[in-house]
Structures are given as structure tokens and as C-alpha cells.
Amino acid sequence: MLAASALLAALAVALAWPVPLVLVRAAWPDASPGLALVVWQSIALAGVLSLLGALLTAGLAPFGPHLLAAGAAFARATAAGRLPSGTTVPALFGVSAAVLLGAHLAGNLAFTAVRAQRQRQRHLDLVLLLSTPLPDLPATRLIDSPAPVAYCLPGTAKSVTVLSAGLLDLLSPQEVDAVAGHERAHVAQHHNLVLVAFRAWRIALPWFPVANRAQDEVGLLVEMLADDQARRLVPDAVLARAIEAVASGGVATGVPGDPDARTPSADATSVARRVARLIAPPAPLPAAIRRLVVLGSVALVVVPAVLLALPAVLG
């Protein structure tokens, strides 16, 4: 079991540091944002599983030949109100760390999801009271403000896309179609679920800089995915102009009486990357490589589970 634990720990370290950095620096995600999103989710999930697995297997090693037997022995003893024979301080530390970290991550995900839901509901209340429905576009509402904004509020029952009067003034009708298509894609592809998960990961691990980078990168990838849906409705150049107009229009207009609202986004290159891939589309990855990346992502999640289960199967 200690060998499995060491392997899992090595995998956890690799997924926590070098692998995400390679992915952040790679050029291909701009060509295949959907594929990159799969890889990010796989890294996050496998990283957490292998870290928890490494702690658990190391902690339970004294109690049995493999994880299931050792876990059962440990649970039986603790349920009876005593520590199992052979308990050591490092073993207890490993088991407690795994349980606490697991609970911390799960609790944070639940907390973040519930809070996001509450904020959305409050914002939706505001939107429904202050906006008017746009007759031409379904589930789209117009808010009377000079600042050009467009966003969607994903909801469990119904989703709403919000456009501002400033945006309609700024953009041509075709550009507005591009923006509306982009927002509909966010809703249709349930991007909010991925974003909440990565946000929870970042909040749960504040001392872990890669979680920050991962959240930024995943946020950008879902924008690219939504852009790709909008490109089916309008030419690439139209979408690029819309992005540029909204990005720079926000600076020029801001919100009356609200200087804070002009705070630029933290990641200043994200809009430029979105526009660049529309103007000069990067070459897509060869199909064989794409298949390899998908296989690798699946393996990343499956391998830690196999490493844990294998000793049990082999006896």
C-alpha cells in the first residue's frame, strides 16, 4: 500500500504544479477550447482524488493489506470506540488529513454553489423589476443603462439574457445577434456549473496559486466556447468587432457615479486572446492528437482509482 501511496502522491504533485503550467502555456487550447476544458476538469478531479488517495492509503497502511480491508478494519475499530491495534501517529495523521481535506473541499463546493445561486436570485429579482422584455429575442431583457453590458443569468427553471441600452446603441443589429448567441451558448452548455466548481476549488485552496490560474483559464475557455457558437450565426469579423466594441466601450462609458465599475478585469490578455483567435484562427490539433488528449484525460481520472483498487483485486 505504501508503494501505491507514493505513486498517488507523485501524481498529485505533478497535477498540482508542472502539468497545469504546461497547459497554461500551451497554444492549442485557443484552437480547441472544448478539449482544453475537458483536460482542466480532468486535472482538477484527478489531482484531488490522488491527493486524498495518497493520504488515505498511507494512513491506512498499518491496518490491512489493501485499502478496502484496511478501511473496513479501521472503521470497525473506531465505531467500537477504540483505536485499532498498530495505530501510529503518522497513520492517524494521514487518515485525519484525508477526511478533513475531503470534507473541506466538498463543503466548499456546496457553500460556493449555494451562494452563487443566492446571488443570482437576488440579481434576477433586480433585473426583472428594472428591465423590460425584448420582443425580438426570446428570454432576453433590456436594462436602461448607458454602459454597454451583456450577460446571462443561468437559472434552474429559466435563464435570462440581459442586454443594456448602451450595448444596443453601440452595436449593429448583427453584432447584437452575435452577443445574444454567445450568451445563449453559455446557458445551453451549462458553463456556470464548471465555473462554480473551479471557483470553489480556488476558494478552498487559497494558498495554491495554480487554482487561481486554473479559474482564469477555465473562465476564458468557456468564453471561447460561447464565441464558437456565436460564429455559427455571424461572420468571425462581426463577432470580433462586437467584443472589441464592448470591451473598450466599457472603459469609455463606465457607470454614472460609479468610478469603481471601470476596474479592468484581472486578466488583461483574455479579451485580446479571444479576438486574436477570431481574426487569425489557429490551426486545429490533428484528429489523432485530439483523441490522445481525450484518452489521456480519462486515464488521468481512472488511473488513481485503479491504483487504489488494484491491491484489493489482486488480493
Binding site: 446571488q119 423589476l129 428594472l130 443603462s145 453590458v149 450577460y151 473598450s248 465599475a261 479592468p264
Partner: protein
């Protein structure tokens, strides 16, 4: 048939238009004025209670009958909304998926170059 949401919006607009606090009866009269419908007072009270629960209006309980006051002006609510929508409010971004996050001046210049400065 107006939905409850439409009624909430109309009632809030009457309160904004009013020069001072309104009672439920006054809100109902304002809503019924110039329209063929005649809303029941219970409906109007339901609408006002929902607005109160959502923190859009305040109920002044010191007087009989109770009067209702908007918590903020329309412009202030719109500013709140835009504040959140533009991501200026910290920790609010998770709830929204914006089309574009605001660009800084450097980024805007870079974009203009990319697009051929037209």
C-alpha cells in the same frame, strides 16, 4: 392578464413616481387609474409584501394604515445592478457570465491594432 412580476414592477414605479410614502389603497388607486382593471386590495398587498421581502420597499409600521416607501430610487437600483453586472462588486462574478469583462486602456489599444484600427 398581468403576471405578479409585472404588477410588482408597476407598483414599484407608482411608488417611485409618488412624492411620498403611499398606503396600499393609494398604490391600488394609482394602479387602477387609467386602466380598465380593478385590482383587489389583497392582490396589491401581496405584491407590496413580495417587494418588501425582496428588499425593494420598506413598510412603515408606525402609522395606520401602513405606508410603503421605496428603499432606493430607480437610478440607485439600476446602479446597483450595473455594479454587479460589470463585476465591480467583489465576489459576485460567479453568478454572472458576462459577454466581455472590461478591458483596460492598454488592452483596448492592443485590440484596436488587432482589428486594423478602423
Amino acid at each position: 392578464m398581468a403576471t405578479l412580476g409585472d404588477l410588482e414592477r408597476s407598483a414599484l414605479e407608482r411608488l417611485w413616481d409618488a412624492s411620498g410614502p403611499l398606503t396600499a389603497n393609494e398604490v391600488r388607486d394609482a394602479l387602477n387609474a387609467g386602466s380598465e382593471r380593478s385590482l383587489a386590495i389583497t392582490t396589491v398587498l401581496t405584491v407590496l409584501t413580495r417587494l418588501e421581502r425582496k428588499h425593494f420597499v420598506r413598510r412603515e409600521r408606525g402609522l395606520r394604515p401602513h405606508v410603503f416607501i421605496p428603499l432606493k430610487s430607480r437610478d440607485e437600483f439600476v446602479a446597483d445592478l450595473m455594479h454587479e453586472a460589470l463585476g465591480a462588486a467583489p465576489d459576485r462574478q460567479a453568478a454572472l457570465a458576462r459577454f466581455v469583462t472590461l478591458a483596460g486602456p492598454d488592452e483596448t489599444a492592443a485590440l484596436k491594432r488587432l482589428l486594423g484600427a478602423d
